[in-house]
Amino acid sequence: MNANFKSWPVIAILSLVSLPLLIMFVFQIVDTFTNPYPGSIWPQMFTIEHWRFLWEEPATGRSSIWAVTWNTFVFASTTAVAVTSISLTAAYALSRLNFPARRFFLAGLIVLHAFPTITLIIAIFLILQFLGLYNSLMGVILVKAALELPFGIWIMKGFYDTVPWEIEMAGVQDGASRFTVWWKLVLPQVQPGLAALLIFSFLSGWSEFVLPLVLAPGNDAQVLSTYLSALILDDAKPDFNLFKSVGLFYAIPVIVIYLVFQKKLMNIYGGGSKG
């Protein structure tokens, strides 16, 4: 911190503003391990009964939390891999190759990037129904990946644009094919973008709610977000502490990934800004 800029007032203001959030987070965690006396909000007894969903047999009509978690993981990681691999090749083409209608594709990307996807949901529903992919994890993965692609391609194009073209030309002069040049010389330069996009689209898949809710409402394809929503919609026996426990369970991977990879994620904002 430099001399003519005191840090403590800023910290004080930020602390004050974030205090309500912080309190809520603390209660979220504390509540999952305790029970209050009736009528009180202060935690009294330590218990792990709210985490029983992890080891108990699920109630009839409910899926096991582990099956749901596995679904969420498959959904998020498959989406991430699909988005990243397609973005890598598509963005390279848009950045470097001169092909017909390139400008049209570029303009289309921006429009799609800014498009409110929820307005497409009925059309997507009909298409999936037609293809027989409605109510399957596969269908949601395809839709989610497709909707994430404009963002991914745009980000990766920004990274490719920063690679000097001389590096590619030097590779070609050295006798390498265009593919070898891309694989061995260009890809290592955009590796930070690749990592960031992979993580980012994984997190985006992990937290997706609307698509699975509408396109795969059945139990077989349930993911954590829809599981959580089903939990709170269950009017028969509301259990808020259970809801909080599942919520925390759902958020833990996100928090861990952010903590581990926050530097890599920042690359998206650093390197991807060039259009």
């Binding site: 000097p164 001389e166 590096i167 030309m169 030097a170 590779g171 070609v172 002069q173 050295d174 006798g175 390498a176 094919s177 070898t180 061995k184 010389l185 290592p188 330069q189 590796q191």
Partner: protein, 349 residues
Amino acid sequence: MQLRLENFTKKFDNLTVIDQLNLTVESGEMMALLGPSGCGKSTTLFTICGIHRMNGGTLHFGDRDVSNLPSQQRNVGVVFQNYALYPHMNIRDNIAFPLRVQKLDNATIAKKVAEIAELVHIPELLDRKPAQLSGGQQQRVALARALVRKPDVLLLDEPLANLDAKLRLEMRSEIRRIQLETGITAILVTHDQVEAMSMCDRIALMKGGKIVQLSEPDQMYNDPVDTFVAGFLGNPPISFLDAQVNADVFQVGPSQITIADSLRAKVNGAVKLGIRPEYFGPQFGTGITGKISFVETQGREDLYNVTLPDGSVLRSIQAAGPRLKLGDSVNWGISHDHALAFTPDGARI
């Protein structure tokens, strides 16, 4: 290997940037493509290495017609202006890359890399990353990578432009030494006449997509075909005076310059005189009067601009001596044997 470019035409969209250019570079020769920005020298270079396609004409390396071959099959080594080293590989892998592409075995690769590193004087740098090297060292690596697979032709695109002045001097002689030691046919693209003159066997001076003059450096300097060539070569540059032929002398305002014997029969009427700064000064007698309008001291030498009564300016470069001041009147002479005569529209007489 001899390089032969015949009737080479290049168009970008509908704009013809190079029309019917012919250029032959002899085996083992170092040729400079010199010219101002936009003269087509880089376009020519990139066509030779295959980055640009030709719109007409042919290109031969020796007897091999490479006009329609892709870059990968041309066997050309290129050194780019920013060196284009592969930042994620260490120097050894950078130099080995062209050999790896050829799928040579590791022992051969190691041997060739060691040899070429020795040639360009970087054997101790092989385990570093490009970012850890200075500009001059990166330049040497780029040269090594371009030369390691024994290309038919070496192309250098403004190789010294990114170096500071002192390194530039050093790399000038280094590049020339490496070119002579390997005996490779080389083309140097540059806009710096000093580089072209000091490094190359011959210079092709280009303007507007055409080669204006192709000759050896000293010949191009002393015997330019027109005012453009005369003005492009030489630093400080040549000065031009408007003159009238008057019997045995060029009349420049009130001053007179004797016409050299070799010119006397060829000139009449209005001419343009080109006087290089080293041929104007007190050591050539008197006859030209004017006022000093600019002084630049360069240590060993002083550069003066002398404004003549009619407003035209002559430059003079002399060994540093008693310093003249701005506004001083001088009466100096011109070595009239070295005055170059041009027609008013610029062609050499």
